[in-house]
């Protein structure tokens, strides 16, 4: 059992969806970010996605673009991100932590070094946005000996043929990008998400996490009724941007708590606990 499969199994037992919380490493600075990171599990994050900054985040909306710029300005890098993961893991052995970012910093470090460093830091998997199945063979090969998960993305443009390709070699969970667009844009309709999750569930046993455009409790609650997990990123990152770094920790964790409560109560409200 990996940390991810253990966590999703226990969510299933509890009969609720999980909250996957995204923050950008070294945003707004290294130490403040660490304080946020270590506070996430207690605030209700079930899985952590730690972004590593890239100068050209072409799949991200304004919130995460700005987060990457702040992180780079604060000296953030892939190595610094791995360092944060290592320090987090020293304190918390249960909460899955995955890295998310773009291929070039990874290529530059080399897939082998990246995988070794991830494993020794105690990270559990990665989403590399611009490595579609056609291009991620070197990463898969490097991840395999360390039992690290490759989290793949499915989107509204992923047709059935494509879905087969996406699911080959996917592990950990499947990340459903609920809108065709960049991160932080408008949320998809509840019905569209439900249909998509139903379709994906037919094709895979992997847990389905749904993200992109989830900012408020209402949207999170709606998704949490059907999906195994809800991914929230831009809404947390915006709390960091919203003011001085002194209160950033408190602001982000408050928002995490708010969304976590929505996610946790979603199915109970419907009266359909598992």
């Amino acid at each position: 059992m990996t940390r991810l499969s253990t966590r999703f199994a226990s969510l299933k037992r509890e009969g609720r969806a999980g909250l996957v919380a995204y923050i950008m490493a070294s945003d707004p600075d290294h130490e403040t970010c660490f304080e946020i990171l270590r506070g996430l599990p207690a605030a209700g994050a079930d899985v952590i996605e730690l972004g590593f900054p890239f100068s050209d985040p072409m799949a991200d909306g304004v919130s995460i673009q700005l987060a990457a710029q702040r992180a780079l300005k604060a000296g953030g890098s892939l190595r610094k991100t791995l360092d944060l993961a290592r320090r987090f893991r020293a304190e918390d052995q249960d909460t899955p932590l995955i890295l998310m970012g773009y291929a070039n910093p990874v290529e530059h470090m080399s897939y082998d070094v990246f995988s070794r460093e991830m494993a020794s830091a105690g990270a559990d998997g990665a989403i590399i946005v611009d490595l579609p199945p056609e291009e991620d063979a070197p990463l898969r090969a490097a991840f395999a000996p360390h039992d690290l998960s490759i989290i793949r993305l499915a989107t509204p443009t992923t047709n059935d043929n494509r879905l087969t390709k996406v699911l080959e070699g996917a592990s950990g969970f499947l990340y459903y990008v609920s809108v065709a667009g960049v991160t932080g844009t408008n949320a998809a309709s509840t019905e569209a998400v439900q249909n998509a999750v139903t379709r994906l569930k037919r094709a895979t046993k992997l847990p389905i996490a749904v993200g992109f455009g989830v900012r408020e409790p209402e949207a999170a609650r709606a998704i949490a009724r059907t999906a195994d997990a809800v991914v929230v990123g831009s809404a947390f990152v915006d709390e960091i941007a919203a003011g001085g770094s002194e209160q950033a920790v408190e602001r982000v964790l408050r928002k995490v708590k708010q969304l976590s409560e929505a996610v946790r109560s979603a199915r109970a409200k419907e009266g359909t606990p598992a």
């Binding site: 985040p57 890098s77 290529e107 611009d130 291009e135 443009t157």
Partner: protein, 404 residues
């Protein structure tokens, strides 16, 4: 297997030129670029598509462009005979329209109703806006806010042609950021939008497709020199930003192994500076950006470094993937020229040939003398004069400290 026999056959089915190229895009875009590839294969197999292109090339763009013997420049250097391929005489003043025409015709075949493009100096934006006006398609051009300030005449031209110029303020607000923003728009408007990329880079099939559309340059030049001189040239030369004019010139000569290929990158203030040049091959390392693996200007963490060149059209931190491959296998040689060398070449060409070249080909001009001398008298050299210098008059005046 003799790999050299296959130069014309690349990229492979995964869009690779050796280790370069590929399809490094987010999953949302994958079905689109696979669709695009199918549509392009379909168009390639349709003689009507080629016929339409030819017709517009002849009557709208003004092709074939002349092959001109630059006699006084040849005398000046005293080496090989220097010919200019005059792609600056095309409609809109550069080679860019060769590609725009092809991509917009493809978009129409695919039933797309909205065109987006990125632009740095504005040349590709103007060419795209021009073709969109001709076919009655709405056109949105993404342009860095910094570049909008630097290239006001081209911004106005695009607007006159009916395009919407959308300022990009993310990142450094220049060409690479405009490309990021165009990709973000595309991912958001997948159902009706066609992304017309301006250079032979991006995810497969763009590098192949743009090269094919630009190869009209090399095909014409090859036929023209055979007619004029009865033999192939000893070398062909072109400037490299993303490298679309160069790959268009090179490609039809790839299998002519006796023809040397020279690309000239922008060395800006010098290759010894960290971020004041735009020479991805001479000063960068392989990496992944904008959908392809290629040589890139980047730091120790794989963060992309902004390029610099006096020529906005060469000011891009990457290069088309086929050039990376041709450089690695040694089929093409990549030189560089600084801002100052390009300016000197600009002035020389104006005085000796009565042609104001754009600052982009001025970089190739800056190395043309050395290559001509190396080949020696009796030799033949073709340089692609890929753009005219009218757009650069203000930049050149500024660099020379002249107020106009």
């Amino acid at each position: 297997m003799d790999v050299r026999r296959n130069w014309q056959d690349l990229p492979d089915s995964n869009g690779r030129f050796g280790q370069y190229g590929g399809r490094f895009v987010a999953e949302t875009l994958m079905p689109l670029i696979l669709d695009l590839e199918r549509a392009y294969r379909d168009a390639q197999a349709d003689p009507a598509f080629a016929a339409t292109m030819d017709d517009f090339w002849t009557h709208y763009v003004g092709r074939p462009s002349p092959l001109y013997f630059a006699e006084r420049l040849t005398d000046h250097f005293g080496g090989a005979k220097i010919y200019f391929k005059r792609d600056e005489l095309n409609h809109t003043g550069a080679h860019k329209i060769n590609n725009c025409l092809g991509q917009v015709l493809l978009a129409l075949r695919m039933g797309k109703t909205r065109i987006i493009a990125e632009t740095g100096a504005g040349q590709h934006g103007v060419a795209t806006a021009t073709v969109c006006a001709r076919f009655g398609l709405p056109c949105v051009v993404f342009m860095g806010a910094t570049d909008i300030e630097r290239q006001k005449p081209n911004v106005f031209r695009m607007k006159l042609l009916g395009a919407e110029v959308r300022p990009v303020t993310s990142g450094a607000a220049t060409l690479k950021d405009a490309m990021n923003e165009a990709l973000r728009d595309w991912v958001t408007n997948v159902h009706d939008t066609f992304y017309c990329i301006g250079t032979a880079a991006g995810p497969h099939p763009y590098p192949e497709m743009v090269r094919d559309f630009q190869s009209v340059i090399g095909r014409e030049a090859r036929a023209q020199i055979l007619e004029r001189e009865g033999r192939l040239p000893d070398a062909v030369m072109a400037c490299i930003g993303g490298g679309s004019n160069a790959i268009g010139l090179f490609h039809p000569f790839l299998d002519d192994e006796e023809v040397k290929l020279y690309g000239v990158e922008a060395a800006g203030l010098g290759l010894n500076t960290i971020d004041k040049h735009a020479a991805a091959i001479n000063g960068g390392k392989p990496g992944v950006l904008h959908g392809n693996r290629t040589y890139l200007l980047q730091d120790d963490d794989g963060q992309i470094i902004e390029g610099h060149s006096i020529s906005a059209g060469l000011d891009y931190p990457g290069v088309g993937p086929e050039h990376s491959y041709l450089s690695d296998i040694g089929r093409a040689k990549y030189l560089s020229a600084t801002d100052d060398e390009a300016l000197e070449a600009f002035k020389l060409c104006a005085r000796l040939e009565g042609i104001l070249p754009a600052l982009e080909p001025s970089h190739a001009l800056a190395r043309v003398g050395e290559v001509a001398k190396e080949i020696g008298k009796g030799g033949l050299l073709i340089m692609n004069l890929c753009g005219r210098g009218d757009k650069d008059v203000f930049t050149v005046a500024d660099a020379l400290g002249v107020k106009i």
